[in-house]
């Protein structure tokens, strides 16, 4: 087990290098640079800026300098767009926001999705099932940039229950968490339902019922636990998506998260920020995948990592 985890973590090194190289090449290829502004920046100023940030050096040296900085000092460089801060400051400020937003949304989404899925499977082909699946189809097909403003319109502007935007107070989190939770909830509801329908037809579930176990125990201990394996795979992917892909929700609700910042950094050609955040997101996705794999072992003791 420990060996497996170590092997997986070591595998991250080539992944990082590949992501780093690819991102670096893409940034070099993108036309337009950080000093291209609406009011033209004089040549001398550009040169001074290039010198200050090391962009006057040969490309291969820029490639290695940044890498060395990251490896030896854990320094992801300065931000070109926010001149009083470093990439480390920015990630430190904004990643926790995206992370907590994502985790809250995933908690809500999982609770909602799994419950709906279980209920629809148990009440298969009843109106309850149909209603839950209607929700599920809506949840996957209506994007956040429609759901978000609609929720603002209804709950913030018309009813005045919650603020339209911002972050920090609990009432400000309600709408964004809900918006972000809808797609995973919908997807998980569908997966849970399908898996539950499969599992409840299995012999061991029939045996459990025949033994006279209560319905609660049959559903939760025997059926759901096995049904959760495919669901976990999806949930893992969704968690990564929700943490790293919340930019639109952060934008609509004006939440100071990393996703939103990342997109701004693309427009600003803020290379160090782009690189730092890309590496961070790559790590986050890899770590979530590892956690999912480990969770399999817990859910199904037959899966072992030796």
């Amino acid at each position: 087990m420990t060996g497996y985890v170590l092997r997986r973590l070591l595998l991250l090194v080539p992944v990082w290098l590949a992501v780093y190289t690819l991102t670096f090449v893409l940034m070099q290829l993108t036309p337009g640079g950080p000093w291209d502004r609406e009011k033209p920046v004089p040549r001398e100023v550009r040169e001074a800026l290039d010198r200050k940030y090391g962009l006057d050096k040969p490309v291969w040296q820029q490639y290695t300098d940044y890498l060395v900085g990251v490896v030896t000092r854990f320094d992801f460089g300065p931000s070109y767009a926010s001149r009083s801060r470093t990439v480390n400051d920015i990630i430190g400020d904004f990643f926790p926001v995206s992370l907590s937003l994502g985790l809250m949304a995933m908690a809500v989404g999982t609770a909602l999705g799994v419950t709906l899925g279980v209920v629809s499977a148990l009440r298969h082909n009843t109106w309850l099932d149909h209603l839950a699946m209607l929700f599920a189809i809506g949840g996957v097909s209506v994007p956040a940039f429609v759901v978000g403003p609609l929720l603002v319109l209804l709950f913030a502007l018309n009813l005045g229950w919650v603020p339209t935007q911002g972050w920090g107070r609990p009432e400000q989190a309600v709408l964004p968490v809900l918006t972000l939770a809808l797609p995973p909830a919908a997807l998980l509801a569908r997966y849970t339902r399908a898996a539950m329908l499969d599992v409840t037809r299995m012999d061991y579930v029939r045996t459990a019922r025949a033994k006279g176990l209560s319905e609660r125990v049959v559903v939760l201990r025997h059926a759901l636990r096995n049904a959760l394996i495919p669901v976990t795979t999806v949930a893992g992917v969704m968690l990564a998506v929700v943490i790293t892909g919340s930019f639109y929700v952060e934008y609509v609700f004006n939440i100071p998260g990393l996703g939103r910042y990342f997109v701004t950094a693309v427009t600003n050609r803020d290379y160090p920020v782009l690189m730092g955040v890309t590496l961070l997101f790559a790590t986050a996705i890899a770590v979530v995948n590892l956690l999912v794999d480990l969770l399999y072992g817990y859910l199904d003791p037959r899966i072992r990592y030796d």
């Binding site: 940039f145 018309n158 952060e250």
Partner: protein
């Protein structure tokens, strides 16, 4: 759906006019519903927050902004940063909208007869926010630091008229050779390279504000963070939660008349989030929309017709002209008659009202109101018949034989609307074919200012916002042929014009100076070098309880020192 999502994502990037941070970003579909539904509700009665907000009880104003890239006056180059900096810091002098100069930290100044030496006398009792006195040495330090290429200031060229500034900035000479010297704590002597009649205007800009050396040396790049920053203006920085909010508090030790407002809370929105800003305004979470935001065009109609909101909508002039830059290196466009025909065939009134839905005023000339030398009456008026006649005279009757030309713009709904209008209009009236070409923002900027662009493009969308309200900022910086191709000159060269504006730059007598610029204006009008579209205006929503909100034409900074809240 894929395309809609892509378009929405692109809008979310805030691709329009990032410098003034006014990108129009409708969350198209859903916010269209929002319009409908609030409209149906008759202005949205019954919302808890809006009802309870009414007039506030304290002298606190809440206003929107985007994240300021910096609060360092020496580095600032964008409207967002400069708005906040102008509350926190101040310099030697300031100008009003009538062009009159007023003392700020300098109580008096003298100019030598040859116009090359300025001597400023500072007020007594000036203090930094940490209690240190503000001295002439802080000015000397700031100017030497900002001109030093290692500081990498975007506006270092604001210091160029000062002796040796260009040698320091371009050739790496010792910054200590800059022609500025603190004779004692209250006397600052400035030597200029050559007479520059606009030097006081420059002295009123942020790049020439004093700086607290000790705070910068202690804090390094992060000296502008809350808790570290030391300022000398009427407000102090209380907190700055990046991308969230920034709070200013009144400086009770300020030497001058103290602001009425106790606090100003800037709520920080993402780039181009006017829809969210407007929702926050309507929900009573902010008190005004400021000049840094353009109201979403999709909603302008509703706002102008809403019985309550139309009274909260105010228009203010801006020192800002939008125009179409013409590439004079293209043979077909070298002909003045062609340029004039293109310009006078446009119906600007209709374009602004129905197509762009912008609050600007039709422009016949390039220079906006407030720039000395300007003479709009010299410029040709809109006249379709004459436009057709000019094209015929130039050898292209009904557009026959005229090559296809390209109009290039940065990807944004408003410029796309402009481009399509021009394409249609010129086809209908002059019979010529225009190809439209759009580019992502940074790609456009790179293309626009690259030396080679002049070989490729024909027309592109342009515009200029005054840094300071002096003809030098327009006639010399934009249209002098020495500024080609990195400015807006477009390859136009007229020796007489160049000589006139270079002489005007140093002319000490204001009347003679204006006369020189008027002659230069006549040449611009005669050659019709570029195609003016409109003078911009700020359209701002202001709650009725906010008093004395009148932003200046230049930069449009929020006049927090004058504003007040009518409290309950």
């Amino acid at each position: 759906m894929g395309r809609v999502a892509l378009a929405a994502a692109r809008r979310a990037l805030g691709l329009e006019e990032p410098v003034r941070r006014m990108a129009r970003i409708p969350l198209a579909l859903a916010f269209a519903l929002l319009v409908l539904s609030t409209a149906c509700q008759g202005g949205g009665q019954g919302t808890g927050q809006r009802q309870s907000s009414g007039a506030p009880r304290e002298q606190v104003v809440r206003l929107p902004t985007t994240e300021p890239p910096t609060l360092d006056p020496g580095l600032a180059a964008d409207a967002t940063s400069i708005d906040v900096i102008s509350q926190l810091f101040e310099g030697l002098v300031t100008f009003d909208d009538q062009g009159a100069v007023h003392p700020v930290e300098a109580e008096a100044w003298q100019v030598s007869d040859d116009g090359r030496q300025y001597t400023f006398r500072l007020r007594e009792g000036l203090r930094w926010s940490d209690g240190q006195p503000v001295t002439a040495h802080d000015y000397e330090y700031a100017w030497k630091r900002n001109v030093d290429p290692r500081t990498a200031s975007d506006y270092a060229n604001a210091l160029y008229p000062i002796l040796n500034a260009q040698r320091i900035h371009k050739q790496g000479a010792d910054p200590n050779t800059l022609g500025v010297r603190a004779v004692d704590d209250r006397t600052l002597v400035v030597q200029l390279e050559e007479p520059a009649a606009y030097f006081l205007r420059l002295a009123s800009t942020w790049t020439l504000f004093p700086l607290p050396r000790w705070a910068i040396e202690r804090g390094g790049d992060s000296w502008t963070e809350a808790g570290k920053i030391v300022t000398n203006g009427p407000f102090k920085l209380e907190s700055w939660r990046h991308d969230q909010d920034l709070t200013l508090v009144r400086n009770d030790d300020y030497w001058g008349s103290k602001p009425t407002l106790v606090r100003a809370v800037y709520k920080i929105f993402p780039d181009g989030a006017e829809e969210q800003m407007l929702a926050a305004y309507e929900a009573g979470e902010i008190d005004l929309s400021t000049t840094n935001y353009r109201l979403p065009p999709a909603q302008v109609e509703r706002l102008r017709n809403d019985p309550k909101l139309k009274n909260e909508l105010h228009l203010f002039p801006a020192s800002d002209t939008r125009f179409i830059t013409v590439n004079h290196r293209r043979p077909a466009l070298r002909d003045r008659r062609v340029r004039e025909a293109l310009g006078i065939a446009i119906e600007r009134e209709r374009l602004l009202r129905d197509v762009l839905k912008r609050p600007g005023q039709p422009a016949t000339s390039l220079q906006p109101e407030g720039i000395a030398g300007r003479k709009p009456e010299l410029w040709p008026k809109e006249d379709v018949q004459r436009a057709k006649q000019l094209m015929a005279e130039a050898g292209y009757p009904d557009g026959r034989g005229f090559p296809e030309i390209t109009f290039t713009y940065n990807t944004a709904d408003v410029w796309k609307a402009l481009a399509q209008y021009l394409q249609q209009r010129w086809k209908d009236t002059l019979g010529i074919t225009v190809r439209l070409d759009n580019m992502e923002w940074k790609v456009f900027l790179k293309w626009k200012f690259e030396p080679g662009w002049t070989e490729r493009g024909d027309l592109y969308r342009g515009g200029w916002v005054s840094d300071y309200e002096d003809p030098n900022n327009w006639y010399n910086m934009l249209w002098d042929s020495a500024e080609d191709p990195t400015q807006f000159n477009g390859g136009w060269k007229n020796d007489e014009y160049d000589a006139l504006v270079r002489r005007a730059r140093g002319e000490q007598d204001p009347a003679a100076r204006t006369a020189l610029y008027e002659q230069a204006e006549a040449l611009l009008a005669r050659d019709y070098i570029h195609i003016p579209i409109n003078y911009e205006r700020y359209e701002v929503l202001v709650k009725p309880y906010v008093q004395n909100y009148a932003p200046p034409r230049v930069m449009g900074n929020t006049p927090l020192t004058k504003m007040a809240i009518a409290t309950q």
